[in-house]
Structures are given as C-alpha cells and as structure tokens.
C-alpha cells in the first residue's frame, strides 16, 4: 500500500482535509511533512495542499517555494516521483517551476468558493488513467488567484503534448463561457508537467469525498491514482 505525504506550510488549511481523505476514506498510510522537514524517505506520493502558505505574501506560492521541503519536492519530482498540488499547492508548483505558467487574480477579482464542474481531458496520466475522457466531475473550488496564464507557445505545447488533464465545463461537459468562472486560458483547471508525474489543479478533490458533504466525485480521481500506484 502506497504511503502519502501531505506537506504542511504555515498557512496551509487543506492539509487536514487531504489527510482525512487519504487516511479515512481511501484507507492509505499518510504522513504530515512540516515545511522545515527534508526527509521524504518512505513516501510514495506527495500532496501539496491548499491554503494560504506564508500568507500569500508577494504572490501565492512565491515564498513557500523556497522552504526547505520544497527543495526535496523538486528533487522527488525530477526523479519521477508523483506529486499532486491542489489550489495553493498548484500555485506553489508553478512558482517552483515544476509546472509551466502562472496564476493571476480571477478575472472578476472575486474569491470564488463554490462547486463547479470539470471535465477529464485525457486518460494518459497516472492521475486520470481509470477515468473516462469527457467524464464530468462535481468538485469544489475556493480561490482568488486561479486565473491560469501561459504564453501562446507554452499553451500550444500543453495542448500538443496532451498536458491539460482537466478543463472547467458545465454539467454536460460543454466548455461554456460561464463555466470558465475565473478566466483561465483555454478553461484550464489542471495540468501536468511534461514528465506527466506532477499534477497541479485548482479544484479540491479532497473536499469531494463524501456524498453527505455534497459530492464524492473527488474519490474517483483518488481511486484512479491508487490504481496507478498499485500497478506501478
């Protein structure tokens, strides 16, 4: 059984959600890793959780990227280790250069906290290989800076290399203008690096684990991840 590591920065606030999701719903071994830790031994999969690491000072994720543990996360990812960055975790992975692009303020400047729909765009990744292309998920978002930006050549490269794993859509999987609530380029909700072992996504699958709390669609994504880890 895979062991998950959940990184805790000062200001993380989805670390316990991620721990709960992996430990009590997915029945995996999970360890918290403090931002000053540098030992990732025994960890098979890293989660960089959401929150407001270092108060989002300067830019979201800009300071967290220089914390001791992030140096180890970069090494882990460069060796092919799987990493999932959710929300602020995504922003940190962008700042660390593990994934291309940057996050801007949502186009209407509002902090958006609601359930949205995202569509699976490719099953060619360890995060999505048990999903179906075009499958729609009901997943919460909660961010003020989720307006994904990348230059034209960078976007083309993401498209050509099939690195866009999730796009914002409506409930039927249509890419309507309203569904792209934060203004992200090309409706991007989640992308992987060119090694396909790092996923950054703004929506929170770890907050969609129990029907009682609205949606358990996030569980399908973690099932896919566990499936990949068990056959790896």
């Amino acid at each position: 059984m895979a062991t998950f590591g959940v990184i805790v920065f000062p200001g993380s606030n989805c670390d316990h959600d991620a721990y709960h999701a992996m430990k009590h719903i997915m029945n995996c071994d999970v360890k918290f890793l403090w931002h000053k830790d540098t030992d990732l031994s025994g960890i098979d999969f890293l989660i960089v959780p959401g929150g407001f690491s270092y108060g989002d000072y300067l830019r979201s994720g800009a300071i967290a990227r220089f914390s001791p543990i992030m140096q180890e996360v970069v090494k882990f990812a460069e060796k092919g280790g799987p990493v999932l960055g959710i929300c602020n975790g995504f922003q940190i992975l962008l700042e660390a250069g593990l994934i291309p692009g940057a996050m801007m303020h949502n186009q209407d400047l509002r902090f958006v906290c609601k359930n949205v729909f995202i569509r699976c765009e490719t099953t060619d990744s360890l995060f999505t290989n048990s999903l179906t292309k075009g499958q729609v998920f009901d997943i919460p978002v909660s961010h003020g800076e989720g307006n994904y930006h990348i230059n034209e050549s960078g976007l083309k490269s993401l498209q050509d290399q099939d690195q866009i794993l999730f796009r914002y859509s409506d409930a039927d999987g249509n890419l309507t203008e309203e569904s792209n609530f934060n203004g992200s380029i090309d409706h991007i909700a989640g992308i992987t690096n060119d090694g396909r072992n790092v996923l950054g996504m703004m929506p929170h699958p770890e907050r969609a684990m129990e029907k009682l709390l609205g949606s358990d669609d996030g569980k399908i994504i973690f099932d896919s991840i566990l499936n990949s880890l068990s056959v790896a």
């Binding site: 300067l58 830019r59 800009a62 220089f66 700042e95 291309p100 692009g101 940057a102 801007m104 303020h105 949502n106 186009q107 209407d108 400047l109 930006h149 990348i150 230059n151």
Partner: protein, 81 residues
C-alpha cells in the same frame, strides 16, 4: 549602502483586473481624462554593495528569482541618489 526601488508591473499583454476596477471607479468620480490604469507593486531594498553595478546585480537577481514572476510581470530598477 544603496537604496534600490523596484517597480513590478503586469506585462502590457496581460489584463489587469485591479487596474480596470480602479479605472471604472475613477470614471465614476468624473475623472474621465484618465485613459488607463495599471496597478503594480513598489518594493524598496537597502543593499550593501561596493558599487552601484554590484548593487544592480544583486537587485536583478532578487527580481528574477523572487520579487517578480517573469511569466506575467516586468520589473524596473532604479536607485535613490
């Protein structure tokens, strides 16, 4: 000691929603001569260096690595005399 001033602004090609919102508010105030508003960050650094060139190098390195995100931002460095 050199006092460096850094201006970080969104690249011209990037929509600046804060600037746009401020522009709307200025129009509501009747200041219709304002054509555009761009909002950025102003950062002051006190740098220990032997020369202005050396100080510039330090500040450039600080901007490129941390203070600005070159994917979406530009920066300008100046020094207080």
């Amino acid at each position: 000691m050199y006092k460096a001033k850094v201006n970080v602004t969104l690249r011209p090609s990037i929509l600046d929603p804060k600037g746009k919102a401020a522009h709307h508010a200025l129009q509501n105030l009747g200041l219709n001569d304002v054509q555009q508003v761009r909002i950025g960050k102003f950062i002051e650094l006190d740098v220990n260096a032997d020369s202005k060139e050396a100080a510039t190098k330090v500040v450039e390195s600080a901007c490129a690595q941390l203070l600005a995100n070159e994917v979406m931002e530009d920066y300008e460095i100046s020094f207080e005399d």
